[in-house]
Symmetry: C2
Subunit: 213 residues, 2 copies
């Protein structure tokens, strides 16, 4: 049985959403962060040595890493849903955003936080470079959503599953103002209107309104 | 025509290697880093707004992001080579390493460098956490390579194309001692013995012996 191990307020909300979009049966287990350190509890870290969310289990398989889980579940249980085939004109775009979400956008967004948490709050070229990379990532997403309604072209796909967390819940850790990003805001409204996303977020974060604006 | 835009000493060596493994025709363009700043030259940044390597062009398509390029080229031009299908027992492992390379391993490895470059050289909990994450990533790779010869199971796959840079050239930016990682060292010897890898590195970095030990 496919089990989604959800760590509260983390990237694993993606996998709850994915399962709701696919309408597949899955077991759901929630783990709360330590109330003082805000880190994952020991039970979550015991799932996999990296101790990061998300993690799924499926029989004997224990699989972390958002992009890998998204591709695995879609291939194994998706029945062709949420895929963008190699003859689709958006094939390359879909692959780009599927990987870009965590390999570039998230490090670009979070880099400043890690740098600041090391103690140096001063103005320096490295922090400026990190800020510029973050701004570039948002600009790239804003531009793409001006020519396609979803990150894999005209329909929702695995690329959206990976990108939405980056544009929503991640901004609770490092804020980013979307007032000059009308395409991203319109996109988030489209996502927020999806019943599967609403079901997933009500299940994964019942006390937290999704950050869609 | 598929064109690989290689920025000297960068992640784009992966894509040269990928094309050599597949034995497909491709155009090769090399760009040298600025001799003072070590950053990409303007001609490379002009390819794509993010200005990061690798980038490929294919007709009108301009595609950055290692993982996306690897999946794109293998799907479009691979004729089934370097793939790990969904019924292969290593399917999930292959997906894990394909994504883990740049979404987790590389940020874990490079995080310390960015933190130090912000100016704070002191001992603090954030740097210790970053070091621990780096150590965990190497330990995870070492363990996996004790039970499989390649990152996608018994044969070379796209997961190896993404992982090898992380274990070799990336260590020129942030050193990491492999003396206690016999499985990784044996793996790098296997990779280094591959004619396609040798051809790729001779082409991409003629003056630089690959960091295989």
């Amino acid at each position: 049985m496919l089990t989604v191990h959800h760590l509260g307020i983390s990237q694993s909300e993606r996998i709850v959403w994915l399962c709701e979009e696919l309408g597949i049966p899955y077991e759901y287990k929630r783990y709360d962060r330590d109330s003082v350190t805000r880190l994952a509890p020991a039970a979550y870290k015991a799932l996999h040595p990296d101790g990061t969310a998300p993690v799924i289990t499926d029989g004997n398989l224990v699989l972390p890493e958002s992009g890998a889980i998204i591709e695995y579940i879609i291939a194994k249980y998706g029945n062709g849903k949420l895929t963008v085939g190699k003859d689709n004109p958006a094939f390359a775009d879909h692959l780009f955003w599927l990987h870009y979400a965590n390999a570039s956008f998230m490090p670009n967004h979070m880099g400043g936080m890690f740098a600041l948490m090391t103690g140096d709050k001063s103005d320096n070229p490295m922090l400026a470079m990190i800020d510029q990379r973050k701004a570039n990532s948002y600009a790239l997403a804003e531009k793409y959503l001006g020519r396609a309604p979803f990150f894999g072209g005209k329909d929702v796909s695995g690329a959206d599953i990976n990108m939405v967390f980056v544009l929503t819940t991640m901004r609770m850790f490092v804020p980013h103002d979307l007032s000059n990003s009308p395409n991203i805001r319109a996109y988030l409204q489209r996502i927020g209107a999806r019943p599967a996303y609403q079901r997933a977020m009500a299940k994964a974060e019942p006390g937290m309104p999704p950050l869609l604006t």
